[in-house]
Structure formats: structure tokens, C-alpha cells
Amino acid sequence: MRYLVLLKASRASTPPPPDLMAAIMKLGEDATRSGALVDTAGLLPSAAGATVTLHDGKIDVTDGPFAEAKEMISYAIYDVRAKEEAVEWTNRFMKLHRDLWPSWAGEAVVLQVM
């Protein structure tokens, strides 16, 4: 089963602590080695992106940034046996933020890929 995990948060005013980045790299390595993590990457601020909308038969392209309060920060794709495993890896990822960047708040959405 494949799961897409999308991390959402307000853009922080300060860069993430180097310890956190090191811990995230380590966790990513563990998850990759175990065969669970099959793809992941960070996402640039929405200012670098665009939205394409279809409404009443009209297609509009709007450059970022988007108005949403939260930005998409990163994505990860896990190949696991059960939803609980994707949730467990995501828990570990969030615990690193809790322990190493206490002021940070955000949410990760775990979605099953068809």
C-alpha cells in the first residue's frame, strides 16, 4: 500500500535548526533503508508556484503565493503494509520537530494512494 504524506505549516520566520535537519536526514535514511520511504522532497514556497482553476468553464492561471494560511512544506511517499506504518513514520518525523524545534507547529496529512 502506498501513502502520500503532505506536510503543512505556516512558513517559519527563521530557518529550521541544523540539529533538526540532521535528525530528519537520519530518519529519512532509516526509512529509505528499510524500504518504506520511496520518494520525498521539500517544496519551495508557493510564491514559486501557480494555481490553475476551472470555474464555470473558464480556466485561470494565477501565480503564487497562495492565500492559504498554511503552506505545503514537503511530501513523502511510503510503501508500507498498513496505514499504521505510514502514520508511525510520520509520528517519528513530527516528534523530531517537537523535540528539536519547540516553537514549530504544523500538520501532516496521510493519504492512501489508489
Partner: protein
Amino acid sequence: MSVHAAVEAVWRIESGRLVAQLARVTGDVGLAEELAQDALVAALEQWPSRGIPDDPGPWLMAVARHKAVDGFRRRATFHRKMAEIGRETPAWVDLDEPDLDDHIGDDLLRLILTACHPAVAVEGQVALVLKTLGGLSTAEIARAFLVPEPTVAQRIVRAKRALRGVEFTVPAPVDRLPAALKIVYLIFNEGYAATAGDDWMRPSLCQEALRLGRLLAGLVPGAAEVHGLVALMELQASRTAARTDADGAPVLLPDQDRRRWDRLLIRRGLASLARAEEISAVGPYTLQAAIAACHARALHPEETDWERIAALYRVLVHVQPSPIVELNRAVAVGMATGPLSGLAVVEPLAASLDGYALFHAVRGDLLERLGRDAEARAAFGRAAALTRNERERALFTARAS
């Protein structure tokens, strides 16, 4: 979310590392596996009420460690056992050393290679690898292989007994790597082309094998064939969704809707193939992956580079002489230069492959393309009579009439 399922998820993530570390400190894979199971039982008892610990790996390790000490003491052989494995004090007093993680790769590799020891029967190796490294339960393994649970339990008991006298050696016996790759591919194939039963595929086994392969590739990154095997499995698995129709009947390669092929797995497969070929391009798994890549790169069947596939099969026949490989080469030659050339490769194989369903199916296909319909139908009839897979039989029977 059920707590039980959450505990099991943690277990599957931690099982391999736990058993591997325990095998290093006890020197006994069977004992390590039992201690790890004790730790799982404790987790299932305690976590639902207390919550899953922040760092479940060390928690499980600590429990297993206590169980080990208890067990040794109870049997009053604690000190003797320590002396046997050449230690004055238990190795686990060192377990809090900060660089414990530095050993984990070695431990995991040693665990896989020890489980694939020639003293253990092949089905025992398969069961032990899935149990310890995959974290699967005996019941899950039994379901995957369509055998009764006691049979799997028995295989594991026998495997552990066979390993009792086998040292958990340092460094890892890498000369056993080919045996480990074979076990992983055997698990994959059992899922990919189910040899018995009503299902044409059991994707869960394919996914277990893929995970094991990816794990091995991380442990032995310098071995070309590990990447070759991972590439082969990723590329073959990329076709899973397209290999069956809505009713579960098999759809063969030329008829598959390639838009349903998994692009992520293809991308990963091609990347693994490139890593393998950087080291060496002539290993059997790497060559088979290169062939699978020719299919993966073709968005339409007519874009397939059959000349290259036929050439790769010619090399593969040299590296790994086998009538089955030659049969595959016949298919490629039949596509590259025409059915008559393909048939010329097929016919000499009759002596060795007469009892093999696919031989008759390939022959039937080539005959059909040559317009020799009566001979083609007879060949498909033979194929249908020989196969043990119900889905495959239906496919061949349809072409025999």
C-alpha cells in the same frame, strides 16, 4: 486507529533491527527471534494502556534484554552461557553505547546471510527471513504461501534448530549474498507468478520481497547484483496493476494498458539499474533488469526495442545457461526478426522443456503468427494441460479452441 494495529506497525518497523542486535549479543539467531517475540508480547500487553513509547526501538531492546537475563538465570546457566560465547559479562551492558547504530547495518546483513545458511532448508530460509526481517507473523506467512500455519511454525522451528550450531559470524559471510538474493527473488516470484492456487498474483509477497531487496541494497551498496535484483523487482512490480483484468484474469505483456504501469516504480527501477550497471552490467539479475527496462521504456508495445532484448538474452544465456532463458530469447527473436526465426530457437528446446507449460504456449503463439492454426491450437492445448495455475489454464484453453 486501533492501538493493536499501531503496535504491530511499530513492530514491523523494528523487528529486523531488534532481532539482528539480539543475534549479535546472544550469538544465536533462534534465541534472538524468541526474545524479540517476548518483547512483542510485552508491547502488546503494555502499550495499549500506557501508550506507545517515544522511542520504541530501545524499549523493545530493553525488554528483550531483561527476558534474556531472566531466561539464563532461570536455567542457572547464565555464567556458563556467557563463558560459552566468550564473554565475562553479558554484551548488553554495552548496549547503551552511543555508536550502537553504527553496527546495525552489519547486524542486519549478518542476520539475512545467516538465515540463508545452506544448513537451513529453502522454505525454512524464506520463513525465517520473512519472520525476522519482515516482522511478519507465522499466520501472515502461512496465508501468503497458502500453507497451514503449523507448517510454517514447523519450518521456523527446524530452521532455528539447524542454525543452533551456526555462528553469527563477524564479518558477515558475504559469499552467501547470492543465496540471499535468490531467497528474496524466490519470495518475489511466489507473489508475482503464483505457482499454485486461484490467484495469478499475490502482491503482498512482491512487496515484502521488494522491501527486503531495498534493505539489502542499502547494506551492500557495492554489489552490482543487489541493485540489479532490486531494479528487476521494481520494474516487474510496476506492471502489477496492468497484469490482471477486472475479473482477476491475467493480461499478458503485449495486451497490458501501459498507462496503468506504476511510473514511480519504473523510475526507481531504472535508477537501480543504472547503479548496477555502473558497477557491472553482466550479472544475471542486472541483465534481466535491463530487459525489463526495455519494456518499461516503451509506452506502446510497438516502441519496444526487441533487437536489444534479443541481444541481452543472448548474453544472459551465456552467463546463466538455461532452456528457460533460451525460451525467452526465442520470444524476443520472434518479435525482432519474425516468428520463423523465433520458432528456430524454440524447436531445439522440445527435449528439455516438453513438460513446461510456457514452452508450448510460446510455440503456440509463434505457430499462430505463422498461420499454422491447427498446430498452434494443439500447442495451447498442451500448455493448458500442463499448467497448475487456474487463471493461466483458462487463458491457454481459450487460445486452444
